[in-house]
Amino acid sequence: MLIQSLELENFKVFHGPNRIAITQGPGNVVVVQGDNGRGKSTIMEAVFWCLYGKEKRHDRLVPTQYPNIVNNTARKEGQNFARVKVGFEHDGKSIEVERSVRARPHIPNPARKSDFEEEMHFKVDGSDLGEDNSLLYEIFPEDVANFFFFDGETISRYAEAQENNRETVEKALGLPYLRQAREDIEKVRKEFEKDLRDVQSSPETEKTEQELKLLRGQAVEHVTRLNEQEAQLECINNDIRQHQRNLEEFDDLRGIQQRIQELEEFSLELDREETAMLSSEETFKAEVPWLILGKFVRGAVETVGRVKEQAVQERIEQGRLMDQVEFMKDLKGSGICICGNEMDAEGLGHIDEVLEKLNGALGTIQVIETDRYSWTQSDLTTAMSKARSVDEEQRNIHGLEAKRRYLDDNRARVSKALERETESMRVHSAQNLREKEVFERLTQLTKEKAVVQSKLDEIRDILNVTRRQVSELERQLEISFSKKSSASRDLLESIGRSNRALKAVDEIIDRSAELKRAEIEMRSSKIYTSITNKPREFIGLSIDPQSFEVKVRAEGGDLVESKKLSDGERHVMALSFLGGLKDSTHEGTLIMDSPFGRLDQTHKTRLIEKIPELAQNVVLLVTDEDLRPDDWKNLSNVQRKFMLDHDQVQKYSRIQEVN
């Protein structure tokens, strides 16, 4: 931070606009000279107030005191405002900080803080950042400023151990940047650790696991239900099969019934056939006489015809039958006779004989009786036409006999079958009542089966869905575990890298601090030995590595605490320490307020000679007594000189540049 200009307007003792310009070479020392009470320390205060909004009182920064900050003369003139502007250069940037305080309008006698409003502008390369002066705090923190803008009256404290001495010095050296980097690494490491914890106890994975557990449980339940339903279905199927078997048994019954029905129908058919046969038989029987007659006639014709053809013919021609007895006699020997009412015993005997023969021949021919004893010609003609051969008649007889045997056999068979089937029917009849029950039960079972099957299908569907979900979740879980494992490995590596980086930065901080400490110690010692009037007794300074407490290294190696030194020696020691510190940073402006107060002339002279070397630019705030004419001879590299003119009447000062 290289201060280039300082402007004060109505700030405390200063009235109106005042300006101190510090330009680059030749010379790097700016002297502001004025008697006590003219505003030397006010210039230092103005710098602190402008930069940090606080007033520097002795060794402390305190809140701005209103309205004392505004010059009294200016207030009397109605100019109720004060303004300070500091222009400096840092890292190639031109920075301006301007702070002002102004009484609020329409307040005739502003006296309280609330009567004023403060305004600050932080400009970087002409760009107004408003009140955002965070950059300032980064490049030049308040406590660091104390090392560079210091009051000679309190300078000795820098040589004494302070609790935050090291911290402050570290700030001056930029080590807080490294510490901040360390904090950042620590934070990042903690984030990695948190990420690791999150990954290891991944809520998503846990959720997936819980869902999976739940779904697996559901799947088991579904399987159980499925098994139950399948078991129930199996029971129903068994029941159905049993009932179907029962129904099959009932089918047997129906078979029996069918067979009985068929037998009965067959029996009826036999009846019908028997009736028909009987009818045929009756017809046949009715025809038998004519058959016999025909036979007889044929026999008569064949046998008798030749002999008594003539006689018969005659009798026939006469229109009447011959006497039956005679006729029978005539026919005697032909083996055929005919019965009649008027037959005599002999004739009847023949008839019996004939019948016996006929019975032998015809079997079933019953006694033939006829009341006809006399036939007319037409009778004979009819008989002849109806007569058939014996063979034919015998065939008819055999047919009837076969039919009768057929009927008798079948009727017996049907009877037996019916008897058998009826018995079966009787046995099964007890089941008839159950048949309906079985059928109804079977119907009910079929319905139950449909319901169970539907449930089964539903459960199977749900189970399939659940299994798919389980499969999907398992896949997700596998991916999740894989990612988890990979992420954990990566995070562990990151944590390891962070830990190594932390150790590395720690070592850099410690060793850099030590390097800086040694460097400051060396430079401070160099300055110290060039200023002290006891260079043989005190060979240098020692800075404690831990506390940064500054001690004088005596010949022989002993360390002398600052409190055992005289005020002058302590002053020199502090100046040397600050000079060494400043020198180590190689840049910036050093503002020294009354730096010679406690020095004897020897020390003072040596310090004056050393001043140009202490910093890139040095602003000396001194009294006439501090820099006497002889002293000016020892001060080199003076760039500009300002005097603080003071109006005794108005009691204000003004900064005047003198050549």
């Binding site: 931070m1 840092h90 965070s134 950059l135 980064e138 490049i139 030049f140 923190p141 660091v144 700030k171 001056a172 050296l173 930029g174 807080p176 940047y177 490294l178 901040q180 980097a181 950042d184 690494i185 934070k187 990042v188 490491r189 984030e191 990695f192 990566d490 590596e493 990151s494 890298r497 962070s498 190594r500 980086a501 150790k503 590395a504 930065v505 070592e507 850099i508 060793r511 850099s512 390097l515 800086k516 940073t585 840049e587 910036g588």
Partner: protein, 52 residues
Amino acid sequence: MPQVLVDPALLSEVSRKHKVSEETLFKIVSAEKSMPVRTARLKEFKKLLGGV
């Protein structure tokens, strides 16, 4: 003025000792200067240390 002045030799030595790449370590020690916004810095550190 505050500044980070880390000796390159020291940086190199510490880098080897703690097995942190010199480039990473340099970025870390200079991050405060190059990236004043902390969130950006943390993001960068996370990338650096996360091996991204």
